[in-house]
């Protein structure tokens, strides 16, 4: 059984279409974490870049633009001589020694400026360039803009950006290193999350494996932290407990069915076979058939009671719940049974002061109380008394309604009471009375469906069956 379960599990894995890594929810969560972490780190780096290197770039461009505008005005006012004078003036006043000017004529011969020749790469008119230049014998990097003036002159304005380029390289290096560290941290975090996730689910998974392998006693361990995983574990354990109870019930019932139904079926079969072989006249045959039919009706009755209990236990009937008053319901039942009781010389006393409001299934409660009355009548000695009592409890269990059926019969011994509600249980005293042993099981099922309790107590002498049902409350619906 266990091996078969494993094989089945493996077969299911084999069918899974996703690649191995994505099949793990832990890996998926970790991956998601790394993605979010990486994205925020990238956003931070981009902002840093924009705020430092980008800002410097923009400042250089703004300075060049302002320079160009001033020179253009000069040229416009005083022509070439004014322009040359201004450039010389600016070069002389340039303390930082980072400004670059070069004015050339149409044939690209330098007129004025601090570059020795027109750079060969500068061909496009009116555009930006970033080029290595040699100024006073020193290699450097410059950002320049080419302007074309009227009269065929070309003007190159720029700034030495070597210092800025150094800073940018430094920044890029720093960010790259940081990115590496972040990737490392993201990966480590992802691993950590996956580990936590796996650890939390490992026990659930192990339990599920054990259960599907046939070991129903396995339960999920709780960490005691009361977190989501603990609640999940609790829910799963509750579910497993219920399944185990149902399984026990099924096992018990199938054993009981095999045992208890075999008897009447065997009897019916024997009667029919005997009649077929030995009946001497049609009258005998008819009598045997009729008795066998009665036996079979008994079998059918047991089946119907079993199915009814199963139906109630499945909880499907909860949809039929409605507010009802127990007092008239008990009065009606007492009225139905009082005649039979009198016939047996038993007094049936009703004590159910109205109202007894309740939320429940009228038909099932009727049947449950009728079963209790049937039982009481079956075991009551002549001259005895049966009390059918309905009352509200306001004491220890607030908001419940109690139905008590008490008789003066032989009762049920204390050691049997616990089992008396099991299907097919028949106490020693009940061996000789007719019945299927399902009556109390049905009452028990009805009480459980309503969230109530069935208690069997000693009536000294006799049995006191107490059916406690929650009274109608606002949240009971």
């Amino acid at each position: 059984m266990r091996a078969a379960g494993r094989r089945w599990l493996r077969a299911r894995h084999a069918r899974a279409p996703r690649p191995y890594l994505l099949r793990s929810a832990g890996v998926r969560f970790a991956f998601l974490y790394a993605m979010v972490f990486g994205a925020s780190a990238l956003a931070l780096a981009l902002f840093l870049w924009w705020a430092t290197a980008g800002l410097l770039d923009r400042q250089v461009q703004a300075a060049i633009n302002a320079d160009a505008q001033g020179l253009a005005e000069r040229y416009h006012e005083g022509g070439l001589p004014a322009l040359v004078a201004t450039i010389q003036n600016r070069l002389a006043q340039n303390v930082d020694d980072n400004a670059i000017y070069l004015l050339v004529d149409a044939a690209l011969h330098p007129i004025v400026g601090n570059l020795t020749e027109w750079p060969a790469q500068v061909t496009q008119p009116n555009s930006w360039f970033e080029l290595p230049v040699t100024r006073a014998g020193i290699e450097s990097l410059a950002r320049m803009h080419r302007y074309d003036l009227l009269g065929g002159f070309h003007l190159l304005i720029g700034r030495d950006v070597k210092a800025r380029a150094k800073l940018r390289a430094l920044l890029t290096d720093g960010l790259l290193w940081a990115l590496g560290v972040m990737v490392g941290l993201g990966f480590a975090g992802a691993l950590l999350i996956r580990g936590v996730f796996r650890a939390a689910l490992a026990d659930v998974s192990a339990t599920a494996m054990a259960i599907s392998g046939g070991d129903l006693s396995h339960r999920v361990r709780r960490s005691g932290r009361g977190d989501e995983f603990d609640r999940l574990a609790e829910t799963i354990n509750d579910m497993l407990d219920r399944i185990a109870r149902l399984m026990d019930g099924v096992r018990q019932v199938s054993n009981a069915i095999a045992h208890d139904l075999r008897t009447p079926i065997t009897r019916a079969r024997a009667r029919l076979e005997d009649a077929a072989a030995h009946a001497e006249c049609a009258e005998d045959l008819r009598a045997a058939i009729e008795r066998a039919t009665v036996d079979l009706d008994g079998v059918v009755g047991v089946f119907q009671a079993l199915l009814r209990i199963a139906e109630i236990e499945a909880g499907a009937r909860r949809s039929a719940f409605a507010p009802l008053d127990l007092a008239p319901l008990l009065a009606d039942l007492a009225e139905l049974y009082v005649a039979v009781a009198e016939e047996q010389g038993v007094r049936l006393v009703l004590d159910a002061p109205a109202p007894l409001p309740l939320l429940g299934d009228r038909e099932l409660i009727q049947q449950a109380v009728a079963n209790l009355l049937d039982n009481a009548l079956k075991f009551s000695p002549p001259g005895g008394e049966i009390r059918l009592q309905g009352r509200r409890l306001n004491g220890s269990v607030p908001g419940s309604v109690e139905v008590v059926v008490a008789d003066a019969g032989p009762g049920i011994p204390a050691e049997d009471r616990e089992h008396a509600m099991e299907r097919f249980f028949r106490g020693e005293t009940a061996r000789d009375t007719p019945g299927s042993g399902l009556g109390l099981a049905l009452v028990q099922a009805v009480s459980q469906l309503h969230g109530g309790v069935l208690r069997l107590e000693d009536n000294a002498p006799g049995l006191r069956a107490v059916l406690m049902l929650p009274a109608k409350t606002e949240n009971a619906a």
Partner: protein, 227 residues
Amino acid sequence: MRILVVEDDKDVAGFVTKGLREAGHTVEHAGNGRDGLFLAASEAFDAIVLDRMLPGGVDGLRLLETLRAQDNKVPVLFLSALGQVDDRVKGLKAGGDDYLTKPFAFSELLARVEALIRRGKGEGPTTRLAVGDLEMDLLSRTVRRAGQKIDLQPREFRLLEYMLRHGGQVVTRTMLLEGVWDYHFDPQTNVIDVHVSRLRQKIDKPFGTSLIHTVRNAGYMLRAEAE
């Protein structure tokens, strides 16, 4: 009376048709839902005995719903192996008039079908019921036999009223439990017998002749001796 039996199980169908014919009815049989629907829709019947689960694509519920949609009011008794309370409620909601769970005793089926036919005849509201020299006035709620007033408890009155309404027909214990007490379960004790016997004490015993008769393996019948 003309009765249609729609039932796919050959043995059950044979058993039911034979029994109904012996009881003096004309019986048609359909072995699947499609034929059953065709017969029920094209011919006039006094009652239909309908199985819930049928082959041929049209099950009992669908058949009945189709029939009711055509405003066909023929009384229908569901016959079904589905015995859960919800199944019964579903059957009655679909327009069924009565519901009997398999396995069943033929006497129960016959009694219920005949009760349905009687109900289907729709005698209209009556104020007076009578069988033989027993009379019941539903307005003044009095019962007389041979002109002599009989005092009955309210429940005894309803029990007698039910039997009078089904005068000359078999009423089973289950029918009484459902019709008079509105209980849908089988008590283990003979509660109904005791109530009927008490009624007998009042309406039969003082008058010499019996009107309430016990029908063996079935139930009771209220009828005048002469009938």
